[in-house]
Symmetry: C2
Subunit: 286 residues, 2 copies
Amino acid sequence: MIVDVSKKVLIVGLGLLGGSYARALKRFGFHISAITLDQSSIDYAIGEGIIDEGSIDLDERMIGEADLVIFALYPHVFVDWIERNQGLLKSGALITDVTGVKSSIVYRIQDVLREDVEFIAAHPMAGREVSGVENSTADMFVGANYIVTPTSKNSPDAIQTCMELGRLLGFSNVATLTPEAHDEMIGFLSQLTHCIAITLMTCNDMEDLEKFTGDSFRDLTRIAKINDQMWSELFVANKGPLLDQMDNFIDKFNELRSMLESEDIEGMRRMMRRSTERRVAFDRKK
Amino acid sequence: MIVDVSKKVLIVGLGLLGGSYARALKRFGFHISAITLDQSSIDYAIGEGIIDEGSIDLDERMIGEADLVIFALYPHVFVDWIERNQGLLKSGALITDVTGVKSSIVYRIQDVLREDVEFIAAHPMAGREVSGVENSTADMFVGANYIVTPTSKNSPDAIQTCMELGRLLGFSNVATLTPEAHDEMIGFLSQLTHCIAITLMTCNDMEDLEKFTGDSFRDLTRIAKINDQMWSELFVANKGPLLDQMDNFIDKFNELRSMLESEDIEGMRRMMRRSTERRVAFDRKK
């Protein structure tokens, strides 16, 4: 399947991400339907002209007509949906997702999925501090990464289609990674940073701190405002890789602590120079 | 002494901070002299009209005439200067500093200082990623905090004068703290955050990370570009309070790690809700 506008797209879960997918794809004229929990989300999206039809029920006709189904759900809800309702999918349909962790989801879905439906997993690395279709935007993915995580069960066609979807959605960088490499990367770049931010925000009860708080502290704790339901589920779904990243961090942090305790100025300066050098490289390739 | 424009101000160390002090004070018409290492800094500052005169030597006349002396030096250089050269200061002069740590400096200076000269310590909580008088600006302190850290040896007059200096410099928030409370606060808000940033930047060598790096990681590592000479000295000068803050952080981080390992979702969600709640409070009072 190649993404062309005669294909019917179904979005399951019309929140911030699902809504932004709808907006971005509607620009090309796709027929878009949506299944979601709240009638108000559907009414809003139809009013905005970003979906053609929607339902809060498992509408068999709507599901059976879709060529491309995008699941924008919590991980466990996604797995549950497939296990219960995959019989309703059209033969030959391609399904994809937005889940932020991969190994624990991709193989499980591919194991239980019907032979005549293909699941190609993807992670749109984008988000905002707000939620709901009302906050969705068509240009949410500009500047962001879209990672497709194929397995040996995926066809070259599905991989190409999914990458093309990422480009249509407006992502600036579309790439592929194995589910394992994705989870290691996300464990470090995203999950570990959130662990650090919530720890920093809760490890000191000193009063009046906010009076003296400057940019560094605000930078490091911006992501300490966190959706506890979603992130706790994503942490557990990526437990192994995240624990590894936490351990790496603790080891290095303890190394710095020991150097400070023994006043090993040269050792600290070496670490700071390495950190400066690495961070500069991150700037340059931005 | 009250700050009035008939007073002569001497700045020792004409770099980014010293230069910004000169610019900010020159707006009011003070007579400003400077002693610094490089003739080029003096030439530049005179050319810009932000100092009246300057010297790379210990100019006895210049030092002996100053009513207010601002030391913008590395901590150990400041202590060293006072020990060697305090005999040159005018009787009745007030001296202050910009040092980022306090307990390890303030008492040491006050212990060795002549009886007829008063040292009132202050920390201008401002900085930039660049250095040198050429990068100084008159509005560098807008939005920033100026913390005066008096001890029992300070006169009410000197405390008032120093706070007034902070306001003249353009700081948005001028406050007093004991040296100990200052060091605890700075150990947490500034030094611990830098320890975290340099650890995060050096604990993972995975390739191609920068390709997938998003806002969270960039936010948490912005301060990982660090002046290794200055920060290693400041870390050691605040060793006790910083080690305490590092230990608090490690304890809380390990608590989160244990909850993840045992899949204690409720515990993680509690911590995330607390972190969200605390971070919101930091926003509001900004």
